[in-house]
């Protein structure tokens, strides 16, 4: 490291990420990647699987920070380790290759991380459903909603892009699309709920 990159303490990391500082997030990402690479590769995983797990783990952390609901009772390192460990165990179980124990090289503590992970997985499920609903809604609604919500475009941009006469028309179209999306989303959502 140390290539002129700023170094942060844990508290500074959290504060910077909350303010959407990408440099801090990049630095954090770079800092703890080797730990997770080691964990996964020591426990019959490949480098790509490790990166995948690590990105999931950082995502959980990031969303908790952005959410403002993070209760960090330990180091970020330990938190990430706990999340990634749990994630990897889950992957192993899915692959049916879990030998019954994981060789830990970091102190593994029961932190709030497990619960955070469960929350994140619940959100994952919702996002999956949302993705499906968006797939099925059809054009031009899909592009309009994706443009507004996912690509963060302004209504003005979208108006010109889709050739609406004015922003109000585009807005009205967006609301109609939302209503359709709602129907698609909630039928699925409730189906899944009723399981």
């Amino acid at each position: 490291m140390g290539k002129g990159l700023p170094s942060y303490t844990d508290a500074e990391f959290v504060a910077a990420i909350r303010q959407d500082d990408d440099r801090a997030l990049a630095q954090l990402y770079r800092l703890h990647l080797p730990m997770v690479l080691h964990l996964v590769q020591q426990n019959s995983g490949t480098e790509d699987e490790a990166k995948d797990v690590y990105q999931e783990g950082v995502m959980v952390f990031y969303e908790k920070v952005r959410d403002g609901s993070l209760e960090l009772s330990c180091q970020i390192k330990t938190y990430l380790y706990a999340v990634c460990r749990r994630l990897w165990l889950k992957r192993l179980a899915e692959k049916n290759r879990f030998g019954g124990s994981l060789s830990d090289h970091e102190p593994y503590l029961e932190t709030g991380a497990e619960q955070d992970l469960l929350d994140a997985q619940e959100r994952d499920r919702q996002f999956g459903l949302m993705g499906e609903a968006l797939e099925r809604i059809g054009e031009p609604c899909r592009s309009l909603l994706e443009g507004f919500y996912l690509l963060d475009k302004s209504m003005q941009e979208l108006t010109t892009e889709f050739g609406y006469t004015n922003a109000d028309n585009a807005k009205n179209q967006k609301y109609k699309c939302l209503v359709r999306l709602k129907k698609l989303f909630f039928t699925h959502y409730q189906e899944e709920e009723s399981f």
Binding site: Q55, S103, Q126, Y149
Partner: protein, 383 residues
């Protein structure tokens, strides 16, 4: 009538705080009054929130992937920089070997545990067998068997016999504690001194002497000689009134080779006679304190007298060599007489008067035995 889409416009403005005060109050009143309308707002919030979260997540994922790509690129750049060096030899690992390595990586802990258990089991078994074999070996002196009788071994047969007797006449047989070991002993002097082998009374708590007529006397050891395997006992029972005159004498010199000798003893419940010859004037492994005699002896014969033709006592039965045919050993009587002499002059003097006259000389062997049998005893040992 407003459509749902119109309401969504209203909700969005409401959440964004763009509604004018009267319109907002109107909306809030309606929300409070109409639960299904409030549900619509909740749904809108959920939809909106999920969409925004979904967008956020996708952006974050792209961000993280960009970080990763940057890191990978960095690593690749480092690698290309290093390729300025000469080509490093690479290890080619075959598919089979890779599988084996992966297997080893995954299961080495289990394999290690299994291997140690196997090793421990093998060595445990081997040691156990060795230990068991060692425990089975009867005596430390190889080939030499002490001839005291382990009564416990015989007790089982005796019990079976007792049971049989009980079945026959219906009365319960008298239970007599037979003692743990037994040997033979014989009178040394008329006033109650006896001789037996040391190994018979070894480790004894109490001793009981039993005559042919089943009189019991308590006895205690007076002197023991471990090297010569000799023990002198004294009867300490108040019912004891002396042996009377002993018919045999003790030979003070060494007996001759080829002399016909015999012994009396209690290898079983009854008095048993056996005879043979004096085969050698040294004992087991050349021990000059012993004779080798060719008398068939059995456990229980230990401590029995060995007499020659004329009724002289020449030795005391001690043991036999189990891997040689008919080789028994007896302590020489000369050591016994010397021992008695030293006891008489000891600080605590013992009044042991060895018989001088021999009443057996010239009589036939059955006559000798008839006289002798009253002076040969069972020595019972309790531990």
């Amino acid at each position: 009538m407003k459509t749902e889409a119109d309401y969504y416009a209203l909700f969005e403005a409401y959440r964004a705080g763009e509604l004018a005060a009267p319109a907002r109050q109107e909306l809030e009143r309606r929300l409070a009054a109409d639960p299904s309308f409030a549900q619509q707002l909740t749904d809108f919030d959920l939809l909106n929130g999920t969409l925004r979260g979904y967008g956020e997540r996708q952006r974050t994922r792209r961000k993280l992937q960009a970080f990763q790509a940057a890191l990978d690129a960095e690593a690749a750049a480092e690698e290309t920089y290093q390729t300025g060096n000469p080509v490093m030899p690479t290890v080619h690992i075959s598919g089979v070997e890779r599988t084996l390595r992966a297997f080893w990586g995954n299961h080495r802990a289990t394999i290690a545990v299994a291997a140690s258990v196997a090793i421990m089991a093998v060595f445990g078994t081997l040691l156990g067998i060795e230990w068991w074999k060692a425990a089975q070996k009867p005596a430390p002196t190889y080939g030499y068997t002490m001839l005291r009788r382990e009564v416990e071994r015989i007790k089982r047969t005796q019990r079976a016999m007792n049971r049989a007797i009980t079945q026959i006449d219906g009365t319960k047989a008298e239970e007599v504690n037979p003692g743990k070991f037994s040997g033979t002993g014989f009178a040394l002097s008329p006033n109650g001194y006896l001789v037996t082998s040391y190994h018979v009374i070894q480790g004894a708590d109490s001793l009981l002497v039993e005559s042919r007529t089943h009189d019991h006397y308590r006895a205690e050891p007076v002197f023991t000689d471990v090297a010569r395997d000799l023990a002198i006992l004294r009867i300490v029972d108040k019912d004891f009134h002396g042996f009377g005159r002993l018919p045999y004498s003790f030979k003070r010199t060494t007996a001759d080779l080829g002399e016909r000798v015999y012994t009396l003893g209690y290898p079983r419940e009854d008095l048993v006679f056996n005879d043979g010859s004096l085969s050698a004037r040294s004992g087991f492994e050349g021990d000059t304190g012993f004779y080798q005699i060719s008398i068939p002896v059995n456990p229980g014969n230990s401590g029995g007298p060995v007499l020659d033709e004329r009724g002289n006592l020449i030795g005391i039965v001690s043991g036999k060599q189990s891997d040689v045919q008919s080789a028994a050993f007896a302590t020489k009587s000369s050591y016994l007489t010397r021992l008695v002499d030293s006891l008489q002059t000891a600080t605590v003097a013992h009044d042991i008067t060895l018989p001088r006259a021999n009443l057996l000389t010239g009589t036939s062997r059955p006559q000798q035995i008839r006289k002798l049998q009253n002076y040969v005893f069972v020595v019972k040992v309790y531990e």
